[in-house]
């Protein structure tokens, strides 16, 4: 049963990533260079929609709180984020969109995957050094959410209801998607076109 769900949800995720342009380095590049923020608006709307539905679902008992899976916060999360950002911008792929792009026939995405397999292997080998450095040690409580979600088993940074905060933040993401401009900053060509 769980494999059937993996196939259905995985295929749906891959298909939607393809349709929103996330598997194309052209749209990723324009988003990150801030010259076309449509994909950013899509992603913000998605996070907001998912958040509102999930927390509302938890409040009415539709969604099992035990399904939440919060990752630990540590300094390495920020350093790793910085590294991922460089590779994401340079290649135009992140891990998920890279495998989808490869499947859609992009040859450079297969090369990205090959590099990714070597990069993750390099991390597997160097993991003990990171572990010893202390940069993987929890900060601010480790696996924490911003509010306190009832029965989730995670501490909250704030005592306020994590469900209510999740819905508020989800709505905020959607509002930001609406107010975000099409692009930030000019570029001579864009000015000339207007």
């Amino acid at each position: 049963m769980s494999l059937v769900l993996a196939i259905i949800i995985g295929a749906a995720f891959g298909a939607v990533l393809d349709r929103i342009g996330a598997t194309s380095p052209n749209w990723i590049g324009k988003m990150l260079a801030l010259t076309n923020l449509n994909l950013m608006k899509t992603i913000l709307t998605a996070i907001g929609t998912g958040s509102v539905l999930m927390f509302a679902g938890q409040m009415i008992g539709l969604v099992d709180v035990g399904h939440m899976s919060v990752k630990a916060a540590y300094v390495g999360v920020f350093i790793g984020g910085l590294l991922l950002g460089v590779g994401w911008a340079a290649a135009g792929y992140c891990p998920g969109t890279g495998v989808c792009a490869a499947a859609s026939g992009r040859k450079d995405a297969w090369v990205f995957i090959a590099g990714g397999l070597l990069g993750s292997a390099a991390y597997m080998v160097t993991y003990p050094a990171w572990k010893a450095s202390g940069l993987l040690d929890n900060i601010a409580g480790g696996k924490v959410t911003l509010g306190t979600v009832p029965d989730a088993g995670y501490d909250g940074l704030m005592a306020m209801s994590g469900d209510v905060l999740g819905i508020i933040l989800g709505a905020a993401f959607i509002v930001i998607a609406f107010v975000l401009p099409e692009r930030i900053g000019g570029g001579a060509m864009a000015v000339a076109a207007e």
């Binding site: 769980s2 949800i9 995985g10 295929a11 749906a12 995720f13 891959g14 990533l17 349709r19 929103i20 590049g29 324009k30 801030l34 996070i47 929609t49 998912g50 958040s51 999930m54 399904h67 939440m68 916060a73 540590y74 390495g76 999360v77 920020f78 790793g80 984020g81 590294l83 991922l84 950002g85 460089v86 590779g87 994401w88 911008a89 290649a91 992140c94 891990p95 998920g96 890279g98 495998v99 490869a102 499947a103 859609s104 992009r106 450079d108 990205f112 590099g115 990714g116 397999l117 070597l118 990069g119 993750s120 597997m124 572990k131 601010a140 409580g141 696996k143 911003l146 993401f173 060509m189």
Partner: protein
């Protein structure tokens, strides 16, 4: 053509919601480690071994958290690994249904050609290096754009916000520098 961001965003949000409703939040980058482990174990069968309590590995990363990753390496037909294979299937079908990519796009994306021309090896070298850095970073962070940024921020987890701050802090300047030519 891409979907309007409102429709696309709601559809993507529904997928993230369905995942957490039915199973668990979406994540991808761990599966690069699992595939590495599968390949490594095929070359050297000592890499992952069965114990009385479960699985372990001679590699400290695969052995961490009571051999959670070692177990997935030994059993590739698990939810998360099949999920990523299914993503590829879904993207392939969706792309085929809209007629597929042009031969030019399949070879080198347009945005790259605008700034760096048609030399394939140059593009592949950067794609390879980019993949290396992105996955090294994702494993150090414990997740990627899917697991940390989207699933994490959706759940209001602190780590998701820290990760997103790091990722955009480097990705935006690098992209602004690399993709100055828009045509």
């Amino acid at each position: 053509m891409t979907l309007d961001w409102k429709l696309g965003g709601v559809l993507l949000g529904l997928v993230f919601f369905l995942a957490v409703l039915l199973v668990k939040p979406i994540g991808v980058s761990t599966q690069f480690v699992i595939l590495d482990g599968i390949i490594g174990d095929a070359v050297n069968s000592e890499l992952v071994t069965k114990t009385e309590e479960g699985y372990t590995s001679t590699n400290a990363y695969l052995a961490k958290s009571d051999g959670k990753y070692a177990k997935s390496v030994a059993n590739p037909l698990n939810y998360s690994f099949v999920f990523v294979l299914a993503m590829m299937l879904g993207a392939f079908a969706s792309n085929m249904a809209k007629g597929g990519l042009s031969a030019d796009e399949r070879s080198i994306p347009q945005i790259w050609r605008n700034s760096f021309g048609d030399t394939q090896m140059k593009r592949y070298a950067v794609a390879f290096a980019g993949g290396f850095i992105a996955l090294y970073g994702a494993r150090l962070a414990g997740g990627c754009t899917s697991g940390h940024m989207m699933s994490g921020m959706m759940q209001t987890s602190l780590s998701g916000y820290i990760f997103a701050a790091g990722a955009f802090a480097s990705a935006v300047p690098v992209a602004m520098f690399m993709y100055r030519k828009e045509n």
